[in-house]
């Protein structure tokens, strides 16, 4: 049987693509922990986060936990991922979208006491977009 060069090349390209794709999947799977942009309160509760090293903490700001200190620029709030909660202290201006019940990414260090001291706050929003009156209806339900 004669193999036409065209078909030989097609088989080669298919094999090459499959091999590279497999390599990337393995790499991404291996990177999963390291490529994560932030740690969660569960990671901290499980002891996976080292105190006093720079890291980012991500989760939801717990409703009713936001407290503004008397100096006006220091705040404290709790971050939750649904399984564990980490208290956060921050001094500075927060982004507009930072609010209770919304996503947050805090950059800072974990104290040995378990308090996360943030020196930078980023707001993280979810993939939903809707008009204000619709959001009110959703909230009312």
């Amino acid at each position: 049987m004669m193999v036409r060069p065209k078909h030989q090349r097609l088989v080669l390209v298919t094999l090459a693509v499959a091999a590279v794709l497999g390599a990337v999947l393995l790499a991404m799977w291996g990177l999963q922990d390291r490529a994560a942009y932030f740690v969660t309160p569960s990671d901290i509760a499980a002891g996976k986060a080292e105190p006093d090293t720079a890291m980012r903490l991500g989760g939801m700001v717990v409703e009713g936990s936001l407290v503004r200190e008397r100096d006006g620029v220091s705040i404290r709030f709790d971050v939750s991922d649904g399984k564990a909660v980490t208290p956060v202290a921050y001094r500075g201006i927060t982004p507009d979208l930072f609010r209770e019940g919304s996503g947050v990414v805090a950059e800072g260090r974990l104290q040995p006491s378990g308090l996360f001291v943030a020196d930078h706050i980023l707001a993280k929003h979810d993939e939903r977009y809707m008009p204000p009156q619709m959001a009110n209806e959703v909230a009312a339900r």
Partner: protein, 239 residues
Amino acid sequence: MHGYANPARFLKIARPATGWLLGIGLVLLLAGVIGGLVFTPPDYLQGETVRILYIHVPSAWLGMAGWASIAAASISQIVWRHPLAAVAGRALAPAGATFAALCLATGSIWGRPTWGTWWEWDGRLTSMLILFFLYLGYIALASAERERGGEGRMAAIFGLVGAINLPIIHYSVLWWRTLHQGQSISVAGGSTIAPEILWPLPLTMLGFTAVFAAVSLMLMRADLARTKLEARLRRSAAE
């Protein structure tokens, strides 16, 4: 497919298609932009900022679709040695790079008021930046190869291997924890964008896509014309 291997035959269709695609694209864009700026309500959380969506999402789509098209052209170059494949690859790259850059720029402008930062090295943002750099590398490699009279095989291999980045960009928000939110529109899950805000998006998506196609055809025609001119100059120099 190989019926269009003949450049004359390709040009017969490409010439009128360029104008039509450009016209249709601009009309759709005008409708989408007016709809997105004037008629849609603001977002409950982000306010008016959400309107950048109508540019950002099509840019991201075309940045990625551009490279997917380069990968398709690369396969037909490597396997079938299609004579127009290298021309198509060279024409797609500048348009794709422009949209990738537009995606990064609009994303940065959007990120400042919403997230509170211009740039963060999270999975989605970083992989999209790599796509932009891949485009620059592809453009440099393909034009260098063209000048040396190559048939575009090196650029094709680069175009094919670079396509690995596309699934990484797409799944970055699912596989890794990122600052960028998850996807809003999926084939299986529908859309988490309210219909009142969503409707201009298909208009700008289709509009930008048609303009992208028109620009790519223009660049392909310019490339073919240049090849013809160079051949003619060589002939007249030999006489």
